[in-house]
Symmetry: C2
Subunit: 499 residues, 2 copies
């Protein structure tokens, strides 16, 4: 494979000067055109030692308009980065639609180095490469153009370049080349191909990068917006008889309740325990992500308050999820949730979450069929990364009966300080009860995984619901903190989390 | 996840009877409609013990028109199957366009069992699941509809069912369920979702399968044919100066030649060695796949003849690849090559091959941009399977100069028994020399892998070319036979094959 980067391609000075001129003009034009579109462009700059990756990045920055492009190098992780799942830094580097990001090394750096240094074995490398394939696929599905460059030197050329830096031996070079070839081969897909570039002649190298990038963007701009692939319905077609249509939600016993006395004493005890557990998590650098979903007026806010009241305010952030901001809309739908992922030891509480994709966006038609259908796998992959990095993740669905919801709506209309909580939209959502129910059922089936199951909460009686939430939290935290986090290996814990 | 299959769904006798009636009629209608399309439908029937997979298959066969559907069970491998790469049996079961295949267990059976019996670890399981994701993706890209059913029983229900068959214990059930959940979760994608079906009530189970299958096919029939996703150009845009456009092919020294005397003596010696190596491979049950590609009149036939003349006729099959037959056209383009994969110990020689996809089909526009671009990864995955199963795979590209080709064309026109070998098409192909050259260069770059590199052969002098081919064959076979095959692990051999 790398033979093709050792054929001795060159560009003379005169040709370079004249061709560079034209190239710069066209790059700027194309950048302006890009700004009018919703295509984010991600440029990955990878390659062996001494191949001049830094020089290429400088050259691109010299040629491009700085207003539409940002560059990210992924050197040693910062404190902020080290304390979050590994991909957090990449999510932060993703460009908004219409703009460009140049990523130095990007997500290929770590797998290459870990394997080279023998810290990962072949199976671990392949597992990570498969995650990369899924990740790039997800970005491309979302409309991104991913342009991947690999710069390569022959062995003698690399030796010459690195003479002053370090000695290099033959087997070291060959080992690196073998691993690089495997990485490239595994991640070279029709929708995100690798461009291999001979790096010896700087003029050839830079001109080829510029022209190839220009061409890739131009081709993309000339294409019609992506059509969704044919979709396969994701739900069962059920027989036409009510006994065949029972769901998990129907099985919840919504009459469950707790008397005021028990509630009060249990609440106090649980809050004390949770306070201690939160500090224990902080000391052990384990972070906690909580997801609260539920129909309107199902008591999410009340349950969250009972939890945060117990916790030191410095340890948590509660994020109410409303309509996305402009900046959020300019990114992949998961971007705004990745942003808020807590540092090790801290807690983020999402009051509604990424599950909006397969709930409200599905039911209201804000996402296309193909979009919400592929979201289940995307969400599972996202959550797997959280859990893999040691985060404790809990997901609650709060269910109330239609009658109880109506009672609460009416109540809200009558109590002045609660009136702001009820809108026309709430009444409209209520009319789509059956569609929401089907969406919730499918959500639970497709995203209740061994490593992070849903907890369904019977919500008609608020005290009962709150205690169930807090108790589940306490039990899960206790178990999780007693164990080592899963680290970055490829193993997925197989224990079913009973809640 | 499986909680949703334990809610107690049932269908009473009367409802079943009346709904079955309507369902059968519509299934037959939809099957007739399907026959007019180019959509192959693949139905996978999986699930735990005692869940009635066999009953479901029988039911579907009772409901469907036998002329458009074939059923495959994958019990113990036959001799024919055991001696080929594992997926050979699945390729043989793939339905032609417009028809349906019901696969009992399918490609999920082995990974589930291997992991359950502890023969594979988690990493090996995940590696196989990623291969499955790629495989299904490839079928779906080719237009297939993949419908995956998983039938599940609760623990007490399974116990009741299996009472007479075997005793079952709690941990065994839980372990199986954990593995199954992981398998399903990992392979549950938007384009090929799993349908989980509660298997306790037979009427519910069968009616739901029938209705869900009907709906999936109907939805697919109602959709416009798939549009290609936006493509990214896969080639480098090169600077406009000839020194920047050198390729691997340009570096071949086509003036290399061999005198008649040396040729004769080398040929004899090599043929003797190859005869012995072929028998050794036969005895060691290692098979050999040879791919010969090259421009017209580059001497593929002559090189192949020099090899097969040395080999016992019972050991090899030489397959000249021409335009596909109707049956071949009704399948994925790799299907016709999978069919011919040799049994362990035997040799298949492809005179032109699957690389037609990225050569003639690309240049002549028989394949769309998206089709030939994704073919590189598909081909690499295919070849990896061959190598993984112990096959020795060699790929030769025979290159001749334009002048030498012209000389040979003219020669063919003059010699009566060679005249049939030259057609108008050959002359037309010759006009596309630059396009073919670019296609060959990209093919070599993207499909020369560590485990199966291309050998480029300088072809202007026939004796030189033939000896280089035979010598490469001898050396590679010798090395390969001295080593153990790679087995089915996830490890890819990292040695670069120098030829």
């Amino acid at each position: 494979m790398f033979e093709a980067t050792k054929v001795g391609r060159t560009v003379d000075k005169v040709s370079f000067k004249s061709q560079q001129e034209a190239l710069r003009t066209r790059l700027l034009e194309v950048q302006r055109e890009l700004l009018q579109t919703d295509i984010p462009v991600i440029v990955l700059i990878s390659g062996g030692e001494g191949a001049g990756k830094g020089e290429v990045v400088n050259r691109l920055n010299e040629w491009l308009d700085a207003r539409g492009v940002r560059t990210f190098a992924f050197w040693d992780e910062t404190d902020e980065e080290r304390q979050r799942p590994r991909y957090w830094r990449f999510w932060n580097a993703l460009p908004p639609r219409g703009e460009m990001a140049i990523l130095f090394g990007g997500w290929y750096q770590t797998p290459l180095e870990q394997r080279f240094q023998g810290l990962w074995n072949d199976a671990e490398l392949d597992a990570e490469l498969n995650r990369i394939v899924d990740f790039e696929h997800m970005l491309i599905n979302d409309g991104a153009l991913v342009v991947k460059f690999w710069f390569h030197l022959s062995e003698p050329d690399q030796k010459t370049r690195l003479k002053k830096l370090s000695r290099d031996d033959r087997s070291r070079y060959q080992k690196y080349e073998r691993i690089a070839e495997h990485v490239i081969r595994h991640t070279d897909r029709g929708i995100s191909p690798w461009y291999l570039i001979e790096a010896q002649d700087r003029r050839y190298r830079d001109l080829t990068v510029g022209k190839t990038l220009l061409h890739a963007v131009k081709v993309r701009l000339s294409q019609p917006p992506a059509m969704d692939p044919p979709t396969t319905p994701s739900h069962l077609e059920l027989p036409d008889v009510s006994s065949a249509r029972i769901t998990l939600l129907d099985q919840l016993d919504l009459s469950r309740s707790l008397d005021r006395q028990t509630y009060k004493s249990e609440l106090g005890a649980l809050q004390t325990e949770l306070n201690e557990l939160a500090w224990e998590a902080y000391n052990k650098k384990r972070s906690l992500v909580l997801v609260f979903e539920g129909v309107d007026a199902s008591g999410k806010g009340g349950a969250i308050r009972r939890f945060v009241n117990a916790i030191d305010a410095r340890l948590y952030r509660a994020i109410p999820i409303a309509a996305p901001t402009d900046e959020e809309k300019a990114h992949h739908y998961l971007w705004r949730f990745w942003r808020r992922i807590p540092r090790a030891g801290y807690i983020t509480i999402y009051d509604r979450s990424w599950y909006g994709r397969v709930l409200v966006e599905r039911v209201e038609g804000f996402a296309t069929d193909a979009e919400w259908r592929r979201a289940y796998a995307e969400i599972n992959q996202f959550e797997e990364q959280l859990v893999r990095s040691g985060t404790v993740l809990l997901k609650f669905w709060l269910q109330v009966s239609q009658e109880e919801q109506l009672r609460r709506f009416k109540d809200r209309e009558q109590v002045p300080y609660k009136r702001f909580k009820i809108t026309d939209e709430d009444w409209r959502n209520r009319e789509k009860w059956p569609q929401y129910k089907a969406a919730v059922n499918e959500m639970v089936v497709r995203t209740s995984t061994a490593y992070t199951a849903w907890t369904l909460v019977e919500g008609d009686d608020k005290p009962y619901a709150r205690i169930k939430v807090l108790r589940t939290l306490r039990d899960t935290l206790k178990t999780a903190l007693a164990r080592e986090p899963n680290g970055t290996g490829s193993q997925i814990p197989c224990e079913v989390k009973q809640s």
